[in-house]
Amino acid sequence: MIDEGLRNELAKQGVVATSLQELYNWGRSNSVWPLSFGLACCAIEMIAASMSKWDISRFGSEVFRPSPRQADLMIVAGTVTKKMAPQVVRLYNQMAEPKYVIAMGACAISGGPFKQGYNVLKGIDRLLPVDVHIPGCPPRPEALLHALVTLQEKIAKQELTGPNRPRHLRADLPSEFPVPEYGEHDLVPAKNETLWQPEPVVRAG
């Protein structure tokens, strides 16, 4: 990229030097529009984060779009139940690339306090790729803002060319994921094998 010292010198003269990648990522990361999609208690903290005390519009995300076609970011806030899971995946499929997912709260990461249950999907990352996880039950609005900043930093670091391109610039990676069906005892399929492989936990001592 450009040498920082040279960049600062030029900036003092009123000349802004940047690369196409930085400009592209700067525009994308500072205006991430979330989908208004709250499931449970974490949704209230998400609403609180968008209200006047913890203003989310400072970060460019005040425009919560109701339609998935117009949103960039899906904040899965709350427990994803098996009854709701096909709807979540369908909404994700309807979003246009580039799209990101933040799993907010313990329930969206792994099922949370309701993990032992017949209707609870034990983590949304069984069905969708997640970019940022926020622990907490519920996480404070400041934690959501921290996650948003982390996501913005992640977007700013994405490269436009080369093997580390993000998913939306690669033709071989899927951007839509199969929607599970309601089975007789469980969802069919219960998890997306290509997305989520649990590591075997072997503990000693």
């Binding site: 098996k82 009854k83 792994s110 032992q116 249950g117 017949y118 209707n119 034990k122 309601y182 089975g183 007789e184 005892h185 469980d186 219960a190 998890k191 649990p198 590591e199 075997p200 936990v201 072997v202 503990r203 000693a204 001592g205």
Partner: protein, 210 residues
């Protein structure tokens, strides 16, 4: 709240509806909340009496609960004559299980309550029908649907009996005591108790250093 105690309610019901079968189900912890066990065939008549009787006026059904009582065996020591000698023999008594619907009734007009009614099914397998009290109290509608969904109690006379919390294609009744939930415990970093047993099926057991 001058609601008569359950024994008096039983006498009144027997006086007003001849032939009705009512049993008092005692509650050792809170005696004021003892309940009346009624038969499904007369349930609607009993309910209408409780709603219309001017001293009771129980016009709100506040809560409908489903309960699962599985079959259980009880070992009882009984004195029996064995070869002419009286001995204590252990006998196994089988109590058949049933499903139960419990109704908590209150009176908004007279500000009194609760009166608790119970209806039991014949067994847990094929005859799980009780009478629906939705024609008497509209508030039972969703709660009876929930009891059907989670326990499998069929309420005859319910206007719209279908699943309410689980999806329609679901086949089991999850709140029963013998329900086995689907096994998605493949990733358990900190398992314990029965979760550990389920998790062990998926990954090698934690090795313990000697």
């Amino acid at each position: 709240m001058p609601i008569p105690n359950p024994e008096e309610l039983k006498t009144r019901l027997e006086a007003a509806l001849p032939g009705v079968r009512v049993e008092v189900f005692p509650n050792p912890a809170v005696p004021a909340q003892s309940s009346l066990l009624i038969a499904p065939a007369e349930a609607v008549a009993v309910a209408k009496f409780l709603q219309d009787e001017p001293q009771l006026r129980l016009d709100m059904c506040s809560n409908v609960t489903g309960v699962d009582w599985p079959d259980r065996e009880e070992k009882v020591k009984v004195k029996q004559l064995v070869d002419g000698v009286e001995k204590e023999v252990e006998e196994v008594r089988r109590h058949p299980g049933c499903l139960e619907a419990v109704y908590h009734l209150y009176s908004v007009a007279l500000k009194q309550g609760p009166v608790i009614l119970r209806q039991r099914t014949a067994n847990r397998t094929d005859d799980t029908a009780v009478a629906s009290l939705t024609p008497v109290w509209r508030g039972c509608e969703f709660q009876e649907r929930e009891a059907y969904d989670l326990f499998g109690i069929r309420f005859t006379g319910h206007p719209d009996l279908r699943r309410i919390l689980m999806w329609d294609e679901f086949k089991d009744h999850p709140m029963r005591k013998d329900y086995v939930e689907p096994d998605d415990y493949e990733y358990e970093p900190t398992p314990h108790d029965e979760v550990l047993d389920r998790a062990k099926a998926h990954y090698p057991a934690p090795e313990v250093k000697a």
